[in-house]
Symmetry: C2
């Protein structure tokens, strides 16, 4: 029974990591589809979204079944309830990636290279946040989870730089207002994904260290 | 033991509803503080955020304890794990209300009345989504939860109208770019709160009707 439960937990970890990999690819391809104006990449993101939606339901059901049948003790119970929350965060990250591709594929072409570079960098940082928050979760690594919270500050300051560039761009050319607003929203979508990774990391720290350490300022 | 458990569940429902009331007030006062340029309202929102953060931790611990000690069966187990997810959503709505007050209190004064009216209306709709999604949760009401998903469409179209007004406004006066971008973000903050209420409603429908009914298009 115990060995079986350990295998179930291992399998759950693998499922969460694998869902995380798909979500990371969705973020990457969503931004690439906008930069390269590539409809194939856009369709790939939509296909992955369906996969993520299915996986979310499966992981939730696995967690409920594990709790009901195995009646896990403190640490394992916290691990499983954390997995359910992280599962929600991953699915919402996927939604944000889909929100990104909802914008016109021509948003970026006419914009200054500096903005494209910032958006690309922001996307890379956010993907790093996703993978590290999940790695922290499955390896119970508090330091790695704390590192994600610091990366979130970098993502926020990249967003500020993008805003600044966009303001300058609109001042010089009011015809670019529509595309500029699209980019403001895309950078916000990326920021939201970073926020979800931050939430995951806070959940991980809470799961490992116990109570009363959430809400950022008390953690680092 | 059973009667005790029922009382615990009743108490959990009351805590979630009461947390929801505070979050609703946060949304209302955050928007009012921007419209009225009122620093007192802003400070009130910050105080409530601390309260919400504390309540989030308490509700999570209550849920974990209920699962561990009472080993609830299928429906009750789903109710408690849903409560944990809804708890996260409520806390994040509170974060979004704080994000709203982070914007300059002078964002709105110079903007056309139409934009102020749309933002006010959007805020009212979003508050309605929050209260109805929670009401649906504690009364196991699928129809009410479905109604929230429809309200989300209204909120999205209000956001589109705000975007349109802002674009027109910037075209007429490029000096208003900074304030306009602030308002774009504020309307996105409201939209995100609506998304959380939608997530709650989807969780509620899932909890009551069982598997495979999440992801919007399959629900209504």
């Amino acid at each position: 029974m115990i060995r079986h439960f350990e295998e179930d937990l291992k399998h759950l970890k693998e499922r969460v990591l694998s869902m995380g990999n798909v979500v990371e690819s969705m973020i990457d391809k969503a931004i690439q589809s906008i930069i390269k104006e590539d409809i194939e990449l856009k369709n790939q993101v939509l296909k992955w979204e369906e996969e993520v939606n299915k996986t979310q339901i499966e992981i939730d059901e696995t967690c409920i079944a594990l709790i009901a049948l195995q009646q896990p003790a403190a640490v394992d119970l916290r691990f499983i309830t954390s997995a359910m929350k992280i599962n929600s965060d991953l699915e919402r990250m996927g939604d944000q990636a889909v929100n990104i591709i909802d914008h016109s594929l021509k948003s970026i072409r006419c914009m200054p290279q500096a903005i494209i570079d910032y958006i690309t960098k922001m996307s890379e940082f956010v993907q790093k946040m996703v993978s590290r928050s999940l790695e922290a979760f499955v390896t119970y690594n508090v330091e790695m989870a704390k590192g994600v919270l610091l990366l979130d500050d970098d993502v926020d300051s990249l967003k500020e730089q993008i805003f600044h560039e966009i303001q300058e761009c609109i001042k010089g050319d009011t015809e670019k207002i529509n595309h500029s607003l699209d980019l403001v929203i895309i950078s916000r979508n990326l920021e939201r994904i970073g926020d979800h990774a931050t939430n995951i990391s806070e959940d991980v720290i809470y799961m490992i260290l116990g109570k009363d350490i959430r809400h950022h300022q008390q953690i680092i």
